[in-house]
Subunit: 361 residues, 2 copies
């Protein structure tokens, strides 16, 4: 191994100047005669010199690198955010560490510390499980710039960008309600995640606004996966008095629901309407094409990256950024089936904030 590396000294020697001068040229400081500078650049080109970023990092106390911490890279939603962050940050010459937490809080903590020990400049926390105050404290302690992505974080001197999920889900629910649906099933993501909670809240608010009593037997907590959606649909439709529409907290679960329904020979949307969230790439290619709350995924990443760049250069916490989702109506939703809307109104149950906990595999 160990190909001989070109160091700054070699360049200095080649150009007949001191290492200090080479450094100045490399870092575009003034105070070096143009003629000399050219000679140095020549040498750099000739020997194909690349500064040792590690040595540079040691003296500067920070390395031009960011960490991205996500629950699950293999989930398209997150991988698209990663891509956006990377594309935005790359032109500045920065690299990006990627880390998976599998949604485990402790792993999140550990990863942040490990990243800090590598002297990275900043960390993007995507859909973190950690409470905002802890993030703030930890980041200050470790001397790292944090930017929270896709989680509502307020009043914490913490840079964050998120989507207004409450409004989005009010809109999604109202879409269904306007089609005459009254029994609307809801499949939430893990409620420990703020977004899941907000989406559920949007659903509840919409129901309340339209005078529909909430039926907790229609609300399920799942895990954002296809399998989770499938399984939940199975439970949901096994009960008597099933919903006429189901609103899912993300597309993957909607895919699972669609798959279950298809297997059971249930027609979508004529018999059951289905709505997802995210607008992942396959959403428009499903059959039927999925009506979904389109999250500005790429924009989420780009905005986060821009905030980070601003944050690190000005050292001022940039203001939060709230993005808006958009309901995309495709063919998985339609008017409620004849006779289904009123017939089987459920005996009113108490409004309860408990939802059934499900085994999240």
């Amino acid at each position: 191994m160990a190909g001989k590396r070109v160091t700054i000294k070699m360049i200095a020697q080649e150009a007949g100047v001191s290492p200090a001068t080479v450094s100045r040229v490399v870092n575009n400081k003034r105070n070096v005669r143009p003629e000399l500078a050219e000679r140095v650049r020549e040498a750099i080109r000739k020997l194909d010199y690349h500064a040792n970023e590690v040595a540079r990092g040691l003296v500067r106390g920070t390395v031009d690198t960011f960490g991205v911490v996500v629950p699950d890279i293999s989930n398209t939603f997150f991988s698209r955010i990663c891509k956006a962050i990377q594309n935005t940050v790359m032109p500045t010459g920065a690299a990006v560490f990627l880390h998976n937490t599998d949604g485990i809080l402790n792993r999140e903590r550990q990863i942040i510390k490990e990243l800090a020990s590598k002297l990275i400049t900043g960390i993007f926390l995507v859909a973190p499980r950690m409470p905002a105050t802890e993030i703030r404290t930890l980041a200050d302690e470790l001397g790292v710039y944090p930017v929270v992505v896709d989680a509502r974080v307020e009043n914490c001197r913490l840079a964050a960008v998120w989507v207004d999920n409450v409004t989005a889900f009010i809109e999604a629910s109202e879409h269904l309600i306007s089609k005459g649906h009254k029994r609307i099933g809801f499949i939430a993501g893990p409620l420990a995640v703020a977004n899941s909670k907000d989406r559920l809240d949007g659903y509840r608010i919409a129901l309340r606004n339209h005078g529909i009593k909430e039926d907790t037997s229609l609300i399920y907590e799942s895990d954002f996966t296809i399998a989770g959606g499938y399984k939940t649909a199975k439970e949901m439709f096994r009960k008597r008095n099933p919903p006429t529409a189901v609103l899912c907290s993300n597309d993957l679960m909607a895919v699972g629901v669609l798959s279950y329904l298809h297997k059971q020979g249930v027609e979508v949307p004529s018999e059951i309407s289905v709505v997802g969230c995210d607008d992942i790439d396959v959403a428009s290619s499903l059959s039927p094409p999925l009506t979904t709350v389109s999250q500005p995924i790429y924009e989420l990443g780009v905005t986060a990256a821009q905030m980070m760049l601003q944050y690190t250069s000005t050292n001022e916490v940039p203001p939060n950024s709230i993005l808006h989702a958009k309901l995309i109506i495709r063919n998985s939703t339609s008017n409620v089936q004849e006779g289904k809307s009123e017939s089987e109104t459920h005996p009113a149950e108490q409004l309860s904030h408990n939802v059934q906990k499900r085994d999240n595999r």
Copy 2:
């Protein structure tokens, strides 16, 4: 910013020993009195010391970090490989840089150099565009361990793991042939990618073995995306004498094909059979569930990571590893439609190795 960092000297002082001793304790060298070691560990715990990985990297000449270079992270296939690599490598305490090339050869080169300047230990090149010999040369020059993932690389003293795509696609084609299909459309990925080429070869071999004349008007080159598949299907089925089945080089393109066919009101599989490749997570949840060549994606990543670990610890190029794909028959394929098989046999065209180039957006 700049939370004061705990250094080895502070630990040394706290424990009343020299930095050298602390270092020895941290790195589990023996030759340090147990009692002293305990005192040091105590200090480490007390001050929450984490060694500065950058300084450590500088003296060691290498940092315990790997780079993963993929064409597109937002593609599930690649993001699943990344995840596998990471999960395998993480327990050793190594971190992972992620880089996107968008399939651009020059960016691949540049990224590799940048990574090398960060003194990383090894690079995983996933589906690289670079020729194997260049990889070997560059890696030697930069002093970095390369492992090639998902690309057939032979006779190059280069560690690589790939899937036997030729056999896989012979099998997939034969599945279709056994159902009576004779006019089988083929949608290839970018033919600059070895895998795409191999899959096409498998298709050709199968046809030849069964005495079916190759019709180049049925072979298209696309770009592995849903949109690409959709567009190609459109062209393919616009021509007179269209195929009765289409074999796609990946699932995403198959999704595009399915979507086009669905839009046109064409029934799958009764009218047209469709086969994909990869077995991405949604494949089994499509309607109809997609018959596909299941790539051992996760295994690909895990194997690559294990090879890397072995490579870096023994400094010997580990032997190549060839994995096998498996045809998963679901419901997107069926017997050829009545009368379609023999009726419109196409005027024999010369066997040609040219395929039509398509605009790959």
